[in-house]
Every structure is written in structure tokens, then in C-alpha cells.
Symmetry: C2
DNA sequence: TAGAGATACATGCAAACGCATATAACTTGC
DNA sequence: GCAAGTTATATGCGTTTGCATGTATCTCTA
């Protein structure tokens, strides 16, 4: 396959990659990530969304990191007192995770600024209906299409 | 800001992140990345798209990596004979990059398989018009919106 | 209910990354 | 035309990553 437009699917993927990279760079450059890296924040955010503690393997589904890397990232966050590890009553192999008070505080603090800059960047580039379309389409893609 | 839906812009961004992570994992898991990592392929692909040699700083705009990391990635690719460094006649600080024959061959070989699996995944999840919408919207986002 | 295989997480280790900073080359104001 | 500031890339160094593999636990089949 020669680079350059060949199929709408590939062009769409390439556009998504570019948008992701551009937006990530912009967000990463913001001066709001005090003591947490973006990847660490991603974990705190994912935990904050969950009412119940979740397993590392569940967390792994949301994070673009190898399992060992995630295992150690969790280690570091736990070491800093931002998250807690619990044994899973239903499965002795699993480790369940939840935010500590401090972790929740950090997530709120960083999340407040980050959410603002996300909203600013997205609404500057896209209309309300484009935002809605993007969300719908990306959800389908994230779920892997019709099959599965 | 409390996690969970608050603003269409944030929901759209979160969906884009999920789609990106899910698709990247799927692509990374494919057994097609012989001697190159995905990030290395990204560089080879970007160079393959360009008719002319491009600067490292130009390449850096397309790649989600710090400048030093990209500098060393270029080092490794050049060391393996996949890309070539040229001095820039117009600017003594710059380094211009182009694919070697071997680099082009690797890009074609890996690109063939990768493009196929991208097309498979994207068309399985999205209709033709959704693909077109996604491309349009992501291009706008990548270019940073109306201003700029 | 044992034994084989699968699954969840952890760890050793080399490679790769980011941050801070160095070096070299360009640009600008005077 | 030169000092002061900026830009493009490289390098030192501590941290983080991925791969291969280890350990513990669960599941499934006979």
C-alpha cells in the first residue's frame, strides 16, 4: 500500500491519529499537571468514574499501557497514597483498586483544569453537532463495531 | 469537575480517547510488526508520505514523542539503515531525513498488512458516511479549530 | 477431586522515554 | 558586524516502559 489516500477507512484512521496527537500535545503542554503525569491522571480519572473498586485487569482495558507497566504505575500511585489496593473477595488473584481521599482530591484538582482546557479546545474546533457526531462514532469504534 | 458526562465536548474527547486506545491495542496486537515498533513505523510512514526530505522538527509535529526521544529514534532508524540524514542546505542546524531503499521496503511491507487491518477494523465498526464524517471532524480538530 | 491449562498480577532486565541542559547555527537590534 | 536572544538538534541522567517470565489462584475435565 502506498501512503496517501487509498480507502476512506484508512484516511479516517489517519485523521483520528492526527487529531489525537495534536490534542494530546496541546493538553500535555498545559501547566496543570502538578504532581501527576497524564498517564497517572488517566488512572485516577478512570477510578474516579467507578463507584466500586475495580480490578487492575479492568483498568487495563481503559489504559494504553502494557500490563506490567500498569502494574508498576499502580504501585507508584499506591506508594504515594493516591490509591488503595484491596484483595478481591471473589478472586484471590485479583487486586481491587480505589481512590484514597488524597487521590480523589488530586483528581478533582487536576481534572477541573484539564476538563476546562479540553472543553475549550474541542468547542473551538467543532460545532455542537460535530461534537455529538464525534462522540457517537468514536463510541462505536471503541466498542469494536457490530460484531463482538 | 466530577467525572461523568458534563459537557458534550468532554464526552466527545473521552470517546475519542477510548476509540484511539481500543484501536491501537488491536493494531499493536496484530502480528505484523516484524523488526519495527509502531512508533518507528509511524516515522517511516510519515517519511514515505513526503516527496521531499523533511526536517526532524517537521517530523516532530506529526509524532507524539518528546524532541529528544524522536532524535534518538531517528538515530536508531539511521543506524539500522532505514532512513538517511542529510544536512539542510538552507539551515545548518537542521537535519533532513529521507527513507533509504531498505526503509521504503520495510514501510511498504509492514504498511500493506497494517493498512489492511486498519481498513478491516474501521469498516467493521463504521459505515461509509460515518468514516467520512469522522475524517472531516478529526481533520478540523487536528488543525486546531477556526483560530490558528 | 486431582491434574492440566488458563488467568491475574508481579518482577528481572534491557531498551526507550522525558526533563534539563548543552551545542551549534540562525536572526535581530543597535 | 557583533552581542543577545532564538531555534534545531543532541546528550547526560534518572525514570518508566515492554518483553519474557515467575508465582499464585482459579477453572475445567476426566
Amino acid at each position: 500500500m502506498i501512503p496517501g489516500s487509498r480507502h476512506p477507512a484508512n484516511d479516517a484512521w489517519e485523521a483520528l491519529l492526527s487529531a489525537h496527537a495534536a490534542a494530546m500535545k496541546q493538553f500535555a503542554a498545559e501547566d496543570i499537571w502538578g504532581q501527576v503525569s497524564i498517564r497517572e491522571y488517566d488512572v485516577l480519572y478512570t477510578l474516579a468514574k467507578c463507584a466500586e473498586p475495580i480490578r487492575i485487569s479492568e483498568l487495563h482495558r481503559h489504559v494504553l499501557l502494557s500490563q506490567p507497566a500498569l502494574s508498576r504505575l499502580v504501585d507508584r500511585l499506591a506508594g504515594r497514597g493516591l490509591i488503595e489496593r484491596h484483595p478481591d473477595p471473589a478472586d484471590g488473584r485479583s487486586v481491587c483498586l480505589s481512590l484514597t481521599g488524597a487521590g480523589r482530591a488530586v483528581q478533582h484538582e487536576v481534572g477541573r483544569s484539564h476538563a476546562r482546557s479540553v472543553a475549550r479546545a474541542m468547542t473551538a474546533a467543532l460545532s455542537r453537532s460535530e461534537l455529538a457526531q464525534l462522540e457517537t462514532i468514536c463510541r462505536k469504534l471503541a466498542e469494536g463495531g457490530p460484531r463482538q
